[in-house]
């Protein structure tokens, strides 16, 4: 074991993982809770989880890398997730996406990413801004909603 295991972060990761030891198939709930707590899953967290759940590091890493939600680096201050799926495309979603990407170029505090369907397909274009769902979006509306992000 490395000294890493004794940092407050590592202790917390261990506690979170241990809370799921009674679950059947605990890995996904553990990784979700780590994301909730830290915003990302670090290499050290992967090692901690593997240790507590008695899995190999490779196995845990393989799961982390498979799912779009799991990130291995800390998130920026804000995220804009815009839907690029068909129903939103039919009402101009691709243009909203392109304009939003362009508007945030060079900003390292904002991440613009694509998602495929948020279940709001009759009120598109749809997106999630800092985890909040919005419908009938256009570039102006996004600008208004993100105005105080700077």
């Amino acid at each position: 074991m490395t000294t890493e295991s004794f940092t407050p972060h590592a202790q917390r990761a261990r506690t979170i993982t241990e809370q799921h030891l009674g679950d059947r198939g605990p890995l996904m709930p553990v990784l979700r809770d780590l994301m909730e707590e830290f915003g990302h899953i670090s290499r050290d967290d992967v090692a901690t989880v593997a240790d507590v759940l008695n899995l190999s590091v490779a196995e845990v890493h393989g799961v982390v890398s498979f799912y779009h939600d799991f990130r291995t680096t800390p998130p920026p201050a804000h995220t804009i997730a815009l839907c690029r799926a068909e129903a939103c495309q039919s009402v101009g979603g691709e243009q909203v996406f392109a304009e939003t990407v362009a508007a945030h170029e060079g900003r390292d505090d904002v991440e613009v990413r694509e998602v495929f369907c948020l279940g709001n397909c009759a009120l598109g274009p749809s997106g999630m801004l800092d985890g909040r769902l919005h419908g009938r979006l256009d570039a102006d509306r996004i600008a208004a909603l993100t105005g105080d992000w700077r």
Binding site: L27, M28, A85, Q89
Partner: protein, 506 residues
């Protein structure tokens, strides 16, 4: 004090329902939160209680909210009598938008738990028989008869069995699972308890996509309430039966809606598709017999048990029995939930209920059944919505999504997108899908650029055949459906070299 209803459904909230609710509280109204009626085109839709019924106001803004208390605004009249709703046949969605989703007594007052109570007086085999008689087929996409699946699980010898509810709802253009869970979560719980009783399971898992935070909260709250009221846990309603339900949240992978991939994910692995056999009904979650069913399949079950399988089977067309919860989406004037008996025509949905496009331009294409479904042109609007009826025109029902496009759509780009989506979301286990999708996208890029169009379209056709025949699951196996339907019905959109010769920029 006037009582008003404001939906807390995620779609309504996405266009300002919470702010409208706040404004109504400030104006002195008693605000109750319901699910959405499914008239998404009217959201935020506020309903004011009167002696004559609940009067609806469409597209209410925070500024206009106080006005509805005095009858100002875009009034729809009594919502239950509105033509858009009155013509529907709401079975699974009967209570959605009507009740407070978390009010377990309100649920019971509107017919809730009747199916469960009746099921518990029957033998498990008789419950399975009732579901078989209803003709209910899986609403997740594959359309497999629910009763046949349950019979297999019931007959399997094992100490532990599971019910796994597929609430991954990844198909674009679909939102019915989300809306029924947000608007009437006890119906899903009731359906799962009946399923568990019928197949001999005492544990159920709900696998819900992470994109649905409102639904996750609503479901968890309802499950807690169901435990405290004796509808979950030990000795349900004094029957001696024990059922627990766990909620598990996905992590943003479309393929985890495929049932074996979902089971892998539930077990804590990468969501890679399992080879069949064995089928999940015999060897599913943690290696045990498992009934995997979609949310809408399970939500049809309470009514089938309450009113009898015959009543459900009396609705529908051909081998597609009962009702289907259609979801009108995309560029459509009146998008939302339309629940009708199977067999309604596509035209009645798109032109009738949907009212054509939102932009007011002509409809050019409709994608039916999610991202793996075919694009259907308006000259096929007479097709009846049923599994076999759609198959006859090389389309599919899928999860009941209907996505409308106007005449500005470029079908070559939509075909390219189908490959792109498959490339992003493929689980990577088999080569035709993993490589084919990437190659398909690249090849269509050439077509779109007008390079060597004829030869490249031949290549696309080859790729599609390989993917159809050689893929392990329907992700790779059905991606050719949107691609080939686009090429078949709108060849002019792929004919870019011709356009270039004529000097039309591509």
């Amino acid at each position: 004090m006037t009582t008003v209803w404001v939906p807390a459904d995620a779609a309504a909230v996405s266009v300002g329902a919470d702010e409208v609710a706040d404004a109504l509280v400030a104006a002195g109204a008693t605000v109750r939160r319901n699910g959405s009626r499914g008239m998404l085109w009217a959201e935020p839709l506020v309903e004011v209680e009167t002696d004559g019924g609940r009067i609806g106001y469409a597209n209410v803004t925070p500024e206009g909210a106080a006005g509805v208390l005095d009858g100002h605004g875009d009034c729809l009249g009594v919502v239950d009598d509105h033509e858009w709703l009155a013509g529907q046949r709401r079975v699974s969605f009967a209570r959605v938008g009507v009740i407070d989703p978390q009010d377990v007594e309100g649920f019971e007052a509107q017919g809730g738990w009747a199916g469960l109570r009746r099921a518990l007086t029957m033998s498990p085999a008789d419950v399975v028989e009732e579901v078989t008689a209803s003709g209910l087929r899986g609403r997740g996409g594959a359309g497999f008869p629910a009763g046949v699946k349950w019979k297999t699980v019931l007959g399997a010898e094992a100490d532990t069995k599971y019910v796994a509810c597929n609430f991954d709802e990844g198909d674009s253009g679909t939102f019915a699972d989300r809306m029924v869970v947000e608007g009437d979560p006890f119906t899903l719980i009731e359906g799962m308890v009946i399923a568990a009783y019928a197949v001999g399971a005492s544990e159920g898992y709900v696998y819900v996509r992470s994109e649905y935070p409102h639904a996750i909260t609503a479901l968890r709250r309802a499950i807690e309430t169901a435990y405290t009221h004796g509808f979950l846990g030990r000795d349900i309603l004094g029957s001696g039966h024990h059922v627990d339900i766990h909620v598990r949240v996905g992590a943003g992978a479309y393929i985890c809606g495929e049932e074996s991939s979902m089971l892998e994910s539930l077990e804590g692995r990468r969501g890679e598709v399992r080879a069949k056999p064995p089928i999940p009904a015999l060897k599913g979650l943690f290696g045990q017999p498992t009934a995997v069913n979609n949310v809408l399949t399970l939500c049809a079950v309470p009514m089938i048990l309450a009113d009898g399988g015959r009543a459900y089977a009396d609705l529908g067309v051909g081998r597609s029995r009962g009702t289907q919860v259609f979801q009108l989406a995309g560029n459509v004037a009146r998008g939302g939930i339309v629940e009708l008996p199977m067999g309604v025509t596509l035209g009645e949905l798109v032109e009738g209920y949907g009212g054509g496009t939102r932009t007011g331009r002509p409809v050019r294409a409709v994608q039916v059944g999610g991202p793996l479904g075919a694009y259907v042109p308006p000259d096929r609007f007479d097709v009846q919505m049923g599994y076999e009826e759609l198959a006859e025109i090389e389309a599919m029902l899928g999860h009941g999504g209907v996505v409308v496009f106007d005449d500005t759509v470029d079908m070559a780009r939509m075909a390219r997108f189908a490959f792109e989506f498959c490339a992003v979301e493929s689980c990577g286990k088999c080569t035709p899908c993993r490589i084919g999708a990437v190659r398909g996208k690249e090849t269509l890029d050439h077509v779109i650029a007008g390079r060597d169009v004829e030869r490249n379209l031949e290549l696309v056709d080859d790729l599609c055949n390989t993917m159809t025949k050689g893929s392990l699951c329907a992700m790779g196996g059905l991606t050719p459906m949107p691609v080939q339907s686009a090429i078949r019905h709108w060849p002019e959109d792929f004919d870019r070299s011709h356009q270039e010769q004529e000097g039309v920029p591509s």
